[in-house]
């Protein structure tokens, strides 16, 4: 009986103690929960309301470089969104909760340049972004977050497989061109838009290098020459003859030989011939009828980007050797 009574007493005492302990710390935990940062320094002020159930989930920033708090440069919520005091603490006389100081979408009335400036605070010194403010995208009110998603572990525009789909959001013509028969391996994720274009820069046509030819040389260096016999347009701009985004004509040509070639060339002899597909085999030693089918003019003028031959013959200057 004594044991039983003692046990009951102990149980009651214990439960009472547990209840008190459980109740008091639970309030403390709730308070702690309010104060505790989840990802970034000082984010408790935001994450007390914002979590993964948001329209735009916020916690996934923890999966990214922006969520690596061991790096002293890692921003806080306020670094990008501003202190947003009235948003965090709605004024009593406000009918609706004011929006944060900076909102990174079109619904927040934050001008695109202000949105981008929040990113430039840290990223302006990156070699590719120094000239952002004079870039075409900047002048077209494209903000960084128009393309980049910060609160996600997978920013589609930074993945070469998914990047083109982001670019196609505005560049509709390119969506079609990359599906043409002659193209770069964009759909396969082997060449991405940013391999050729620095969208953060102000080079002509937003190229990664200072000119079109220098950009193309990063993969097609054999075209740089100089050659013993130069083909003038090759030295100036690959885009004179090629459409790099895709074409129905082999080798990304803008137009089919002989039409393309005759836009510059045409004199007495075979260069004036009409385009035509052969009705039968044509002598290999004749230029007649060999300017359209197959490789067109390039059936013979095979070194069209330049020739290094020193043969003592005029044919070498016409890119045939």
């Amino acid at each position: 009986m004594k044991k039983t009574g003692s046990a009951i007493l102990t149980l009651i005492t214990g439960l009472t103690f547990a209840l008190i302990l459980a109740t008091v710390p639970q309030e403390s935990a709730a308070a702690e929960k309010q104060r505790k940062d989840m990802v970034l320094k000082g984010d408790a002020n935001c994450t007390r309301c914002h979590d993964e159930s948001e329209e735009v989930p916020v916690l996934a920033i923890g999966k990214t470089k922006h969520g690596t708090v061991a790096d002293g440069r890692t921003p806080s919520c306020a670094s990008c969104h501003g202190e947003s005091d009235t948003h965090a603490n709605k004024p009593a006389d406000a009918k609706e909760r004011p929006k944060p100081t900076r909102v990174f979408n079109r619904k927040g009335n934050t001008p695109p340049e202000v949105q981008s400036q929040a990113c430039l605070t840290c990223h302006q010194g990156d070699p590719q972004r120094i000239h952002w403010k004079s870039s075409m995208h900047s002048s077209q009110d494209v903000a960084c977050t128009s393309c980049h998603k910060v609160h996600t572990g997978h920013d589609a525009v930074r993945d070469k497989v998914t990047q083109p789909q982001v670019c196609f959001t505005c560049h509709k013509d390119k969506r079609v061109q990359v599906n043409k028969p002659s193209r770069h391996p964009v759909l396969e994720g082997k060449v991405s838009c940013s391999d050729c274009h620095n969208t953060h820069g102000n080079n002509p046509k937003q190229m990664v290098k200072a000119s079109v030819v220098e950009t193309c040389y990063t993969c097609h260096l054999e075209k740089r020459g100089p050659f013993v016999h130069n083909h003038q347009p090759v030295t100036e701009d690959c885009g004179i003859c090629h459409n790099p985004h895709g074409s129905t004509i082999a080798n990304l040509l803008k137009s089919r030989p002989p039409f393309l070639c005759q836009d510059c060339h045409g004199t007495t002899g075979h260069r004036n011939q009409a385009a035509g597909v052969p009705t039968g085999r044509i002598s290999a030693t004749s230029s007649t009828g060999n300017n359209t089918a197959g490789r067109g003019c390039l059936n013979c003028h095979t070194n069209i980007h330049g020739s290094n031959s020193t043969q003592n013959s005029a044919t070498v200057g016409r890119f045939r050797r």
Binding site: A7, T10, G14, A18, A22, A29, M38, G62, K63, A70, D71, G72, R73, R106, P112, G125, D126, K133, S139, G153, V176, N179, P181, K190, S211, Y217, C219, E222, R224, G225, P226, V228, H229, T235, E236, F259, Q262, D263, C264, G266, T267, N272, A274, A275, G276, V277, P278, T279, G280, I282, T285, G289, G294, R295, C300, T302, N308, T310, Q311, R321
Partner: protein, 690 residues
Amino acid sequence: MIKSIAPSFRLTALAAALMLAFGPACADDAEVAALTTPDSSVSVGIGNWSKDRPQQGVYDGMRDSDTYGLFDFDIRKRDNATGTWLGLKARNLGLDNREIKGEWLRQGDIGGSIEYSRIVRDAPYTVNTGLQGIGTTTQTVGNVTPGAGRNVQLGTQRDRITATFVKHFGTNLKLNASFRNEEKEGTRHYGRGGSAEFLVEPVDSTTRLLETTLSYTSDKLQLSGGYFGSSYSTNVRLITSAGTIANGGSTTFFSSQPLDNMAHELFLNGGYNFSATTRGTFKLSYSVATQNERLPTADVPGLPAAGAPAYLDGKLETTLVEFGLTAKPLPKLSVLANLRYRDFSDKTPVQQFVFGGTPMFYTPFSYRNTVGKLEGTYRLNGGYSVLGGIEYNAQDRTTPTPAGVIRVPFVRQLDNASYRAQIRKSMSETVNGTLAYVHEDRKGKGYFASGEVEENLIHPLHIADRKRDKVRGMLDWLPTEKLNLQFAVESSTDKYGNGPNGNPLGIQKGTGSLFSADASYQIREDWQLRGWISQDQSQADEITIGNGGGTQRKVNMLRETGTSFGIGLNGKVSDKMKIGGDIEQFRNINKYNQTLSGGATQTAGTITTPDITSTLMKIKLFATYAMRKNTELRFDLVHEKWSTDDWTWNMFPTTGVTPWAYGSTTDGTTVIASPKQESTFVGVRLKYKF
């Protein structure tokens, strides 16, 4: 006994209290950790294409009807205490175009990566030929009856290794370095050059790129300077081809190839924030590219003329100087000013290489561009803004010397003025858009006639006087929370003048247009429907001289019309299952209308060029089933259908279309491009996330 009970009681009570107090918090921590820890995944599977797909499989490593292993992974780990990342990512490990990348980074301090990637390109046709020595630099043309040769598949592969390094020195200085080595091998469709005879270009080259950048960043000043070097080296310097075809009395041909070259560039970029709204920038760079290889044909007895140089001593210098300023002189006015000077100067010595007949010299081409740009944006109420801008590009083009070395007309000066006006609506929850108008005026000065009388009638398309008008509009409309509509319209017209010397021939007019509409609709929380349609059109009107010269003319009207659409649906069937699919079709029609006048005639043995219609349809379906929280099974079904009547590799005898064959009695090489291709892919993958 009491002693034995007491500790038990205390622990039990404490445990209950702790569980009540901290249990939920621990669960929260685990949930937060899962939501904030970098994702990793491994995907293993198998897939099969039912038929060969030469056109669609050019780059994806799955050209042939076969079964392929599908193996990808993406492992990303981060030590939160030190901010150290370790990544290992691989894609297409079971395919020819595989790639794998390893990365280590102590964020904000030091890091590096190394990546291997292969790009394959399989030519979309099969060659039937008697050519011997394919893949080597010594080839022999063999005559075969068309179709009686051996089938050859041409293609190249690039094996690329890229290494990067980054190191931060304090908070202001950062060093970046990257190095890329690419080995390119394979075979490429080529020509013997003497006439229309089939030859194969062997490819065996190495490209190397090295870039190092030291960056300094402070609140006001950013500087970035460094070195960029590039080099190309090849093991294919000359292709010698022999054969029985006589051409000019010679049966051996020597086809020169691009030779080793390299370039070194020094650059410095910078920006300075004069105030919160005013920023100045600059770019400086200087590069030298050289090509000093011994010219292989110089060592072929009897080929070069006596006295022809054996080295080109090629040297290209490029200088870039640029200054820019962006400012907001008024709260609602933003201005941008930029001045750019780029001098591409060919310093290669002008040497004579051909002495017989028409003398031929090295022909340097140099371009000096000075570009000024001024642009202003004024913000109006209601999210509207207007933009106006002008850009003037003055290009000095060095006149080739000595006279007579060029074959088409040239201009010494080419100026292009561009004017832009635009109105934009942004920052609206429902309607945003832009409407822009651009006018360009290009004019050449200092006309320089070529040595060819008839070619002097042509204004080459890239230097012809041109007036360009372009309109571009975009509208992004959210009529409801669930529906998003997007429209894009573009139209451009190029009108070409008669050239700087009244040249009447060449391209006359070019037009282009695009209409595109996109829609996405949120049917339910987990179901989305999307669709798009595009129509594009381009045309070029040309007048060129007829085959007989004189007043004979060819009037070409080249048209390309594309009609494409896509529709897709994806959604959640249950908590464990998602499904989706897309149907896309791309259709192009090319028309080659050529009218002959003034007595011009169709080339003997040919017919006028027929229209070409190409259609690609893709149906992609998928389903994923979550076997566990972190394990997913994915099924893919892809059906492709490609058809074309492209006549590039065809002949048109009265008996019906046949593969085009080289030569009338010799060579006999044919190229077989399959006009209809249809194939189905079925794949299954298991994806594990952790």
